[in-house]
Structure formats: C-alpha cells, structure tokens
C-alpha cells in the first residue's frame, strides 16, 4: 500500500522587499505601478512514492529544500503546485527544541507541547512520568525552561514526540540529539518505531547513516529533484558530486 505519494510538488516563496517594507510601501508601489513580486522556487517538481515500512533518506547540500519538503509532507506547509496524498498519523521531528516557552517550567512546557501534538489530557497525565524519565530531566521538572542546556531541550522535545507510535515518522536531522548515551537510547527508540512498520523519512548529512538505514533515497539540489531510487546507487553518485564541488 502506498503511504506517501507526491506528484510534481512545487513550493514558491514570494521574496523581494515585500515582507520587509510593509503595507504603506506596497500601496504606494501599487499606485506608482512599480510593484512587482519576485518568486523563489524552494521546491520544484518533486515526485516520489513510498510503500508502508520503507525508509526514505533525503540528501542534498545546504539549502536544497530538504526541510521545506519535510514541512510539506507533515502538512505544515501547503505546496503551491502539485498533488500529494499522505495516509496515516504523522509524527514529525523538525528543529527540535524550538517553539518552547522559555518562561514556563519544564513540566508546563511538556504539557503544552503534548497538547500541541494532539495528545489528550488523560494521555499526558498518564505518560508524563515516562516522558520525563526518558529525557532524564526529573530533577529539572520545576525549573524554568530557559535554564536547560540546548542538549536537554532537544532531549525533552524528542521524548515527547516519540512516545506515540506513529504510522509515518519524519526526522529532520534529529538522530544526533544529546550526548553519546542519549543518542544511543534515541536511536534505539527510533529503530523500535521504524521496525514497528512505520514509514519513515530521514534527512541526514551522514551518508553512512543513510546507507545503513534507508531503503530508498531522494536527492534534491536547489529545489530540483536530481534522482530518486536505490540507496547505494544514488549515494555513490552523490559522493561523486560532493568530490567534484
């Protein structure tokens, strides 16, 4: 069964002075007829599909559009062109550690994040202890969130997001969270979810990791799809490309 299907997906941002100036300037520019929109294609014609249980590795240099693609698949961002279907519950781990409130305590933030991810109150009351234990932050639970180190923040974010077993898992550069010990633990947890049959999308700059884990690879560059297919073949090509640069 196809779990994820993307058809000619494009995303274009409107750039230019637009967002930096403001309403006044746009009105004046429109009156003077000097108003123009510039577009920037963050993604341009991405097409691929994934079966249940597959693990897709996304590779490409910085600014290729990998994170934008993750946002499109998670439903956070709507593509400007193209069609897609994504079936099943999604857990997406993007930019871990952001979006927390620095003034609230760790405990309050945990509940807020849980609510944001769509968990119920009962579920949070029940699983709060295991979240905090997994993140190893028990002694910090009543401290202000801003007192945590960035590693701790990511650990907490990871622990909250990974407690449910989603059908689709989207990981944007998050398998390197925390210190050595926690990394091991989080990778193990991740593998548990993946082996449970989740369809996974993994963005990583570590080719070794992609080769080890991915069943398919998508290579994008400057928003354009370079290749999609078998892991070894594309990873080899990508390595060639990196050497030439």
């Amino acid at each position: 069964m196809k779990k994820i299907e993307l058809n000619d997906i494009s995303v274009s941002y409107i750039t230019g002075d637009f967002s930096t100036t403001g309403l006044k300037d746009v009105i004046i520019q429109k009156l003077k007829r000097t108003y123009e929109k510039k577009e920037f294609m963050a993604l341009n014609g991405i097409t691929f599909s994934l079966e249940q249980g597959e693990l897709l590795g996304i590779i490409g240099t910085n600014g290729a559009g990998k994170s934008t693609l993750c946002k499109v698949i998670s439903g956070i961002m709507r593509p400007t062109k193209g069609t897609m279907s994504v079936k099943g519950s999604i857990a997406s781990l993007l930019e871990l550690g952001t979006g927390f409130d620095p003034d609230l305590t760790v405990k309050e933030n945990t509940f807020l994040r849980g609510a944001l991810l769509g968990y119920t109150k009962e579920f949070m009351n029940k699983t709060y202890d295991s979240i905090i234990d997994f993140a190893e932050l028990k002694e910090f639970e009543n401290r202000k969130f801003s007192h945590l180190s960035s590693g701790m923040k990511s650990r907490l974010a990871f622990s909250i997001a990974c407690l449910v077993n989603p059908e689709i898992l989207i990981l944007d550069e998050v398998l390197s969270v925390g210190d050595g010990a926690f990394r091991k633990k989080s990778e193990a947890k991740m593998l548990e979810v993946i082996q449970g049959g989740a369809t996974t999308i993994l963005v990583s700059h570590s080719l070794a990791q992609i080769r080890r884990m991915a069943t398919k690879v998508l290579w994008i560059e400057k928003g354009k799809q370079i290749d999609f297919g078998e892991t070894e073949e594309i990873c080899d090509k990508y390595e060639e490309f990196l050497k030439k640069k």
Binding site: Y13, I14, F18, S19, T20, T21, G22, L23, K24, V26, K71, S74, G75, I76, M77, R78, I90, S92, L94, E95, T98, G99, D101, D103, L104, E108, F111, L112, A115, L116, L117, G118, Y119, T120, K121, M124
Partner: protein, 262 residues
C-alpha cells in the same frame, strides 16, 4: 458559512486540551514573577481612569451625572476591544516557532488570546461594579443583559483578530498603523465626552462606530437603567457577525500563505 462555523466548533472541541493549555500559558506568563501579579491588570485601567477623571471632570463632568461611571464604562469597553485585538494581531507571529514546526490549527493561538483578554476584562468588570455600587447606583436585574454586548464584542474582537493576525504576518507595519487607528477610534467613541451636545441625527452617526455601539449599550443599562431598543441589539449583533464572517473569509483565503512569510 453555517457549516464551516459548525466544523470549526467541532475542531475547537477536539483541541480543547490545547486550547486550555494556551490560555493557561497566557495567564502564567502575564502574572508570574510580578509581585503585584493579578493586581496589575486591574491597576492599569484604574490609573488610566483616575487620570482621565482628574483631567476631564472639569470640562465634561459638570453636566453629567455619575461622570466617573460614564468614563469608566467607555474605558472598560474600549480597553477590552483594544487589548483583545492587539493580542490577536500578535498571536500568530509570537508563536511562529511552533507554527513552523508543528501542524496545528493556527487560529487557536489567536482565539486563545481573545479568551484571555476576555477573562482579563472580567476582572476589571468586577472593579467596575464596585465603583457602580460606591457611586450609589442601585443594582438591578437589568444588569444581566450586559452579557449580551459582552458576547457580541467578544465575537467582534475575534473577527478583528482574524483580519489583523492575517495582515500582520505579511505586513509588519500593520501594528503601527493599527495603533494610530485605535487612537483615532478612541476619540470618536465618546469615552470622555457626551454626545448630547450634537443634534439627534448626528448622535446616530456615532453608531457607525461599532465600539461606540457597545459602549452605549453599557451606559444605557447602567446609567439610565434602561434596556436599549431592539434596533440597538440588532446593531450590536450585526457588527459582530459581519466582522466575524469577513475575518473568517480573509483568514481562510490567506492562512496557507502564512508559512511563506513567518
């Protein structure tokens, strides 16, 4: 339209937990770690009232009975409008980091701000009634009808919040333009002066301003002890509905674009 309202109510129910967490967060942030805490939010309108009373009683208050309450009614309603719409305007941008990384209905952030502003208004309302009692105005069952303009104003604020939050994402200068706008709106809302110096026809022109309509309802009930006529009720409701529907349409049309600007 009715269906989409129904749908949204259903969604809100689904996100009830998130919603209560967001409102809680607004409150904790506002009152935590300030010594005066909750007292602050009451103190600020009171100080504003005190200054206005000192300055304006000489000019406008001589011919007006219960001038302090007259002033307070206007201030109370206008502050609610101003705080709620300002909060709504910033709601999306303040939560940009969340919106960028988690798929969650964005308008919940805006509506939670409106609700916190409403609770805040409720606190000031208690003080207001305290003043009413001190000023020797007898309480009557008519006061219960004040729930009506408050509910209408809440809906009205949500509508304005939809529009402003959508505009603010794209145009960052909206906050300054809106500040000027509210300032001007305050002057035409008859907060510290009375409108009876104008002929009857001109007095009706004031009702073009929705906020004035809500203020007038308050004054009519509290100061004159009279429930306003039917047309006044319809006007209050009409403004709320028009604003809500306009806001929802504008928001719905633009909401997927937000991600490109945040």
């Amino acid at each position: 339209m009715l269906n989409s309202i129904k749908e949204n109510i259903h969604k809100i129910k689904k996100y009830q937990f998130l919603f209560s967490e967001l409102v809680k967060r607004d409150f904790k942030k506002k009152y935590k770690r300030t010594i005066l805490g909750m007292f602050w939010s009451i103190l600020s309108p009171l100080m504003q009232l005190a200054v206005m009373a000192v300055v304006f009683t000489k000019f406008f208050g001589r011919n007006t009975e219960h001038y302090i309450i007259y002033l307070f009614s206007g201030n109370l309603v206008f502050s609610f409008f101003k705080d709620a719409t300002n909060g709504g305007m910033h709601a999306l941008m303040q939560n940009a980091n969340i919106i960028k990384n988690i798929n969650v209905p964005k308008y919940l952030f805006m509506i939670s701000k409106e609700v916190s502003a409403c609770i805040n208004f409720g606190l000031t309302l208690i003080i207001y009634f305290l003043f009413v009692a001190i000023d020797g105005i007898p309480f009557s069952w008519n006061f219960l009808t004040l729930i009506y303009p408050i509910a209408c104003l809440l809906i009205f604020n949500i509508g304005v919040g939809f529009i402003l939050s959508a505009m603010f994402v794209v145009f960052k200068d909206v906050q300054y333009l809106y500040e000027i706008f509210t300032q001007l709106l305050m002057y035409v809302s008859a907060i510290f002066y009375t409108v009876d110096v104008y002929p009857d026809k001109i007095q009706l022109v004031f009702f073009i301003n929705p906020v004035y309509s809500y203020i007038a309802y308050f004054r009519s009930v509290v100061l004159e002890g009279a429930i306003p006529p039917l047309w006044h009720h319809l006007l209050c409701f009409g403004y709320a509905m028009i604003m809500l529907i306009t806001g929802m349409v504008i928001y719905k049309k633009n909401n997927y674009k937000f991600m490109y600007y945040i």
